[in-house]
Amino acid sequence: MELRPNGLYCAPGDFYIDPWEPVERAVITHAHPDRAHPGSRAYLTARAGESLLRAVVGPEALVEAAEYGHSLKLGGAAVSLHPAGHIPGSAQVRVEYDGEVWVVSGDYKLEPDPTCAPFEPVRCHTFLTEATYGLPIFRWPPPAETMASTHAWWRANQEAGKNSLLYANPVGKMQRIVAMLDRSIGPVEQVTGLPAPERQAGDLPRLVLAPPSLHNTPWSRQFAPASTALAAGWMRIRGTRRRRALDRGFVLSDHADWPSLLRAIDATGAETVGVTHGFRGPLVRWLEEHGRRAVAVDARFESDL
């Protein structure tokens, strides 16, 4: 396994995992825009993620879907996909060659999520982990607790006759929230694509779920009076919420928090851990101080949310 200009490459299997540029064969951990790009000749994805990937790469692309745990031969390597618990259809990629096992986890979380299969620990020699939230200040409250405060906020807004604008990543996070919503509180509207639908005159106050990019735009302002909130792990820090001039921040992440990162890494039994995305440095140093071999791996695309 090596890092090439196009991305992470597996020589024995002649394929890339989440390549940055078009390649012959791409194995995709999940369909977020920093991981899946159109233009490659052939894609491999988990069955549950097929439709999301299809939406990104277009109807012409060659997409092969595999069940979780089903082992495939790619060149000399045995490849299987295992649930990562990140978003619907997200997968860890297990690659075995010559008795060596690698697991490329993509993004993952350990919290329960009604929209996707739970993270499955896979034993390996080398584990590639994300570190989006690789600092001990990132510790997620139980999702049920976050939803309870979200509901309280929504209910108070309904009572005050205000709209509730809740921003969330439209791929994954939004579906997760919708699946946990208490629909008895009021009407719900979901905005996933652009152009976003206009507000209708005479609309009752409602919860509008929208992509974060629509915050503080002419579109969002037509919902006034409204209270605004964002659901993301970054909302653990007051500064990130205040800087965006949001009224509320709900800590709900599809990434692993610090305790989960350590637990997941431990469960793999890996001798070597590659760390990519986010707070690479601190996690590498921590792992080394705890007797594990760890290296920082650069990623071309870093997402903010």
Binding site: L135, P136, R139, I237, R238, T240, R242, A245
Partner: protein, 522 residues
């Protein structure tokens, strides 16, 4: 503490002033008087004297969290707020306290000052263990005294006034001066008739900068014009045989300025003068940096007193013969002020005479030579108001100096700017090299800050701790007020109030100014 932590969260969660006032009012009307007094104490920015060093606080939190030292720094950089970093880093909370705010402050916080380190540590750790995360955060804020929560004094005043059914001006006045946060104070604050406190200053009236052309103010004859002095705004009070000098920050500074205290002693009973403390010699102000030499000192020796003498430049009279005369028109107050006995340390701010705005505009050109910042324009018929108000007082400042400089270093900001590169150092050309010339933090829009932040991340040449040295590419126009030689600065020059006036996307770094050009401004 529970209600107070919720108040803190509620204030933090909204950017709308009406909602902030409503949250404050909800808290204040439900709180016990001793809790309300403490809350107001912190909300208006008063804090107990330093209780302990932040370093120790961090050290004990790190031990309690069971993490290595180095990770605290990493976390602080991501969070940008010391109290919050500790609250987020401590082990998950298992308790929540129902004990009131005044208990936590009087029984648990203030005694820390007298205790030795081992005891302090034990007390702090047990306090953290009794609190939930939101309470820990509020508690840490109380401990560190960095209590900014986006609430201005005006909002607190409004909330108290609404709670007590009083006029905001009355509340603002009662909050001035020295008071102790006790139940008794809270009752007096809300009382219909307040007992007199002989030291209490009046709330300062503050001016807005003039926005449109000066001609829009109408007839020049309706305006009193004075030079705008650059010193320390202050109020000199003489009552019951005592003299008090208050700064605008409501600090009693009488003993810092013995010359002015002596001048105050010569005033008649029941006098309050509004003015500016200025370093003054030979009938003209000294640079403000001279004043800073004096402010920084605990003991004032003969030498500093003779090198940097000060005066109170008097420009308004608020109390005369024991009566509050703020409602009288300015011209009346001015006439009275001119009759007040003066001495060498009490100077009357001269009225600037001009027959037309055009003539005044020409006189304004003399500002720099006169070491003033421009003009103050005051409507002759106006009362002395409370706080910053539009309409009757305007400051008409001279254009600041400006220089084109290149961004060379950047580091992350604090608070809501944490984890964004917002604090910049700019360089100007000296031969073929860029020498650091000034630091600036303000002046860019959020949009521009994000753009510069992205530039910094992509163009880092070297890292020195949190500081990034970046590719010298971006040019900014810096504005500043004063300029002075300074052996302590690498460029040999120090400037006052530098800020970014605009991003010169049209300029290449080679086109930035040189140190020689800047020396020419001296």
């Amino acid at each position: 503490m529970k209600a107070f932590a919720e108040l803190y969260a509620a204030l933090d969660e909204t950017t709308k002033t009406n909602e902030k006032v409503a949250a404050l009012q909800r808290y204040l009307s439900a709180a016990a008087p001793e809790d309300a007094a403490w809350a107001v104490n912190f909300l208006v920015g008063r804090r107990p004297k330093r209780l302990l060093e932040s370093r120790k606080l961090a050290e004990w939190a790190i031990a309690e969290a069971g993490v290595p030292d180095w990770i605290f720094g990493e976390c602080f950089q991501a969070v940008g707020d010391f109290a919050e970093t500790i609250a987020l880093l401590l082990p998950p909370a298992a308790a929540s306290t129902n004990l009131p705010l005044h208990y936590w402050i009087e029984q648990r916080l203030l005694p820390l000052r007298e205790a030795d380190d081992e005891t302090r540590r034990a007390w702090l750790v047990s306090a953290w263990r009794e609190m939930d995360e939101g309470q820990r955060f509020a508690w840490n804020k109380l401990l560190t005294g960095e209590f900014r929560v986006g609430v201005s004094q005006n909002l607190v005043v409004r909330a108290i006034a609404e709670t007590g059914g009083l006029a905001p001006e009355v509340v603002a006045h009662r909050l001035m001066g020295d008071w102790l946060p006790t139940a008794e104070f809270w009752r007096q604050l809300l009382a219909t008739e307040a007992a007199a406190d002989i030291s209490k200053p009046y709330p300062f009236f503050l001016a807005y900068p003039l926005e449109g052309p000066v001609e829009e103010l109408g007839e020049i004859g309706a305006w009193q014009v004075e030079w705008k002095w650059d010193g320390i705004r202050a109020q000199l009070i003489r009552r019951a045989g005592h003299t008090f000098l208050w700064s605008r920050g409501e600090e009693l500074i009488t003993d810092r300025f013995p010359e002015i205290e002596a001048a105050g002693a010569a005033l008649p009973e029941g006098t309050a003068i509004d003015g500016e403390v200025l370093p003054w010699q030979g009938g003209a102000p000294l640079p403000f940096a001279q004043m800073q030499r004096r402010i920084g000192r605990k003991a004032l020796g003969k030498r500093i007193l003779s090198e940097v003498p000060v005066v109170l430049m008097a420009y308004d009279l608020l109390e005369w013969e024991g009566r509050d005369i703020r409602e009288r028109p300015l011209e009346w107050r001015r006439a009275q002020l001119e009759s007040v006995p003066r001495d060498a340390a009490l100077v009357l701010s001269p009225a600037v005479e001009a027959g037309s705005w055009e003539e005044l505009r020409r006189l304004r050109e003399e500002s720099r030579a006169r070491k003033v910042e421009g003009f103050m324009l005051k409507r002759r018929g106006s009362p002395y108001r409370v706080g910053r108000r539009r309409g009757d007082w305007w400051k008409w400042k001279i254009q600041p100096y400006s220089v084109d400089a290149v961004l060379i270093y950047a580091q992350p900001g604090n608070g809501r700017r944490a984890s964004l590169f917002t604090d910049y150092t700019f360089g100007v050309w000296d031969g073929g090299k860029l020498v650091p010339f000034a630091k600036a933090y303000s002046g860019l829009s959020d949009e521009e800050i994000r753009e510069v932040d992205a530039f910094v991340r992509r163009n880092t040449l070297e890292r020195h701790g949190p500081v990034r040295m970046v590719k010298p590419e971006l040019v900014f126009e810096l504005a500043f007020e004063g300029i002075q030689r300074s052996p302590r600065h690498r460029s040999g020059i120090a400037v006052r109030f530098p800020r970014m006036a605009r991003w010169r996307r049209d300029k290449k770094p080679e086109e930035a100014d040189s140190i020689d050009t800047i020396r020419g401004l001296l």
